[in-house]
Amino acid sequence: MSEHVHRDDFGARLGMWLFLVTEIVLFGGLFIGYSYMRYKYPAEFHHGGAELNATLGVINTLVLLTSSLTVVLAIVAIQRAEKKRAMAFLGTTLALGLTFLVIKSFEWAAKFHHGLYPNAPHLGTLPPGEQVFFGLYFTMTGLHGLHVIVGLSLLSVMLWWVATDRIRADRYIHLENSGLYWHLVDVIWIFLLPLFYLAA
């Protein structure tokens, strides 16, 4: 493999960061909307937050924080050409990401069971502020959940590429960029925890 191949790892990371800042602005807009609505309906948001299961929210935070750690450790392992270890770290990340989604689905199922889902008849009888709270809750955690699914898909491909030596100690920019995406998903959740689950 001595032929010249054009590579610009910094350019690739810059491109990824430019994409990530559009994601930050996307969620940032929703966060700004949330803060205005919470300012307008403080009591309703307090009451809405009480309906959520804070324990599950905190457990999911620990799950995502740990999955972020294992991604960054997989990069360290690849830099040191420790392929098996890198695969173990990535596998752990995938397992933790799936755990997050399973916990999330139990939580949403419980909400649906209590008549709390977008456009539900019961939700329509609640005060406007609480309808806004649950509207934001489903929009923001739903959009975040979609990002978790995308991140897990990307990281599954990365695991396959590490296994097939397409990602190696001298060439791991794809793993780095997928890791950046996963960390951003983690950062968004860091904000969602106190805004929704600890709001009561």
Binding site: W17, V21, Y36, V76, L193
Partner: protein, 99 residues
């Protein structure tokens, strides 16, 4: 000699497992603190939200997302974005204040 210098430079650019595990422990402690202050009452909860949450996000950006090891350009890209969001936030609430 130069090979050794190059090697140690390479090593300095790539932090080891320990650094990230320490950051993870700090993130867990901050999460515990955030949950703790949220039980102390509304004022403490809001202050916890406004201080501990950005601190946690900052640790992830700086260490896990490797911004610490990047040049100024990527840092500026992120800061300009966060600054823009802050401006929008300030504009919205300055409008709300005069209604």
């Amino acid at each position: 000699m130069s090979e050794h210098a190059e090697h140690s430079l390479e090593h300095a650019n790539h932090p080891g497992y320990g650094t990230f595990i320490k950051v993870w422990v700090a993130l867990l402690i901050l999460t515990g603190a955030l949950v703790g202050v949220s039980h102390l009452g509304q004022t403490y909860a809001v202050w916890g939200l406004l201080t501990l949450t950005p601190l946690k996000a900052g640790l992830v950006f700086y260490f896990f997302m490797h911004l610490k090891y990047e040049g100024p350009l990527l840092k500026i890209v992120v800061l300009v974005t966060l600054g823009t969001l802050l401006i929008f936030f300030a504009l919205l609430f300055s409008d709300v204040a005069f209604h």
